[in-house]
Symmetry: C2
Subunit: 191 residues, 2 copies
DNA sequence: CGAGTCCCTAACCAAGCGGTCAACAGGCAT
DNA sequence: ATGCCTGTTGACCGCTTGGTTAGGGACTCG
């Protein structure tokens, strides 16, 4: 996992893997038929932490709090898993064919998040909680693009290049019309 | 250029390059000392179209129009150069060390665009053109993150996965308080 | 004509690649 | 003890890799 994630598929040789694992190369080929098979196993292991349960988070919160919680979950996850995300993004960029399996899994994850957002924004608009009066799909796409942009910030400039609190304040302003952030204690300490 | 950009450095062999160029491998090594040297030359050639002249675009437009024009330039460029951008992003993701030369060039390009945005937003705020009252740096970062998010949309879902007009409408709304877009003719035909 | 320089090639090289194979050690049921 | 299945190994294989080398046309200059 470490080698493949750090250096990618083609840049990692089976001899290196064997050496790093203090094992003979032949043993790896006994457990995994080919290099590709090992790589796929690694991909799946690395992907596991991405499947988290949003449902348990929903609780008794109103739509606004749920939305903010969802945004926070996304950003904190991105911040804490930057290196693995970096690897997956590179991987996705590399193989363009949509029948890849990995691509499908990631897209499915992504669509789940998006529909959650669309749903929450729609309900928040109905309850007049949401100042943003664009169609929920459009607003969700916009929000998601924004989050992905922050993700790129994390990937390229690292933790310190991104002003998380500022970004969240601006998102609150855009979504709910909340005033630009003075220091307040309703930003969770996880940020 | 085609091979390196399509398949990356390690996945492209000099024999392939020679075959694709209908030339002997030794000839390539006569012109370029190593594979890396050829690759760097390719990088520089691919990077050329990224250096465009914003100054000539400024003209006699007011700050609002300049901002919108800058945003449009960014998005149209991204849409039209998606494949080369995909390659560069993958490249940047891959080599993490900031002393890379390529990384520096791209960051410099990026910072140029950012300062342009900060400047324009600041001036627009002074003239009361801008509804968005966050500090210019914060607003510019937000805007840039948004644009990068749209970029990721182009990279992963292709031209049709991104609603350019909708995104621009929402940016106008956020920056200037423009009403959600009904069909109007002030969106240039290049979108 | 002859020397020199520029391009260019076929053949070659050592090293490393992904992958295979025969052998073998240890546990475990017969 | 015997045979079998699961792991594990070092040695090996054919092939490709990035890179080299010796040499040969074509052109220019004196």
């Amino acid at each position: 996992m470490r080698l493949f994630a750090m250096r990618g598929f083609h840049e990692t040789s089976m001899s290196e893997v064997a050496r790093a694992a203090s094992v003979s190369k032949a043993l790896i080929f006994w457990h995994f038929k080919t290099k590709e098979e090992l790589f796929m196993a690694v991909l799946n292991r690395l992907l596991e932490p991405y499947f988290i349960d949003f449902a348990e988070e929903a609780g008794a919160l109103d739509e606004k709090s749920q939305l903010l919680r969802l945004i926070e979950l996304y950003l904190v996850f991105v911040r804490d898993n930057a290196s693995s995300i970096r690897f997956f993004v590179a991987q996705l960029l590399h193989d363009e064919k949509p029948s890849d399996g990995l691509t499908n899994q990631v897209l499915q994850l992504y669509d789940g998040y998006r529909t959650l957002l669309v749903d929450l924004i729609g309900r928040a608009q109905e309850k007049q909680l949401c100042k943003c009066d664009f169609p929920p799909q459009a607003a969700a796409s916009f929000l998601l693009a924004m989050l992905n942009g922050l993700l790129m910030g994390f990937l390229f400039t690292g933790d310190k290049g991104v002003d998380l609190k500022g970004a969240i304040a601006m998102l609150r302003n855009w979504l709910f019309g909340d005033a630009p952030q003075r220091e307040s204690d309703d930003i969770p300490p996880s940020l």
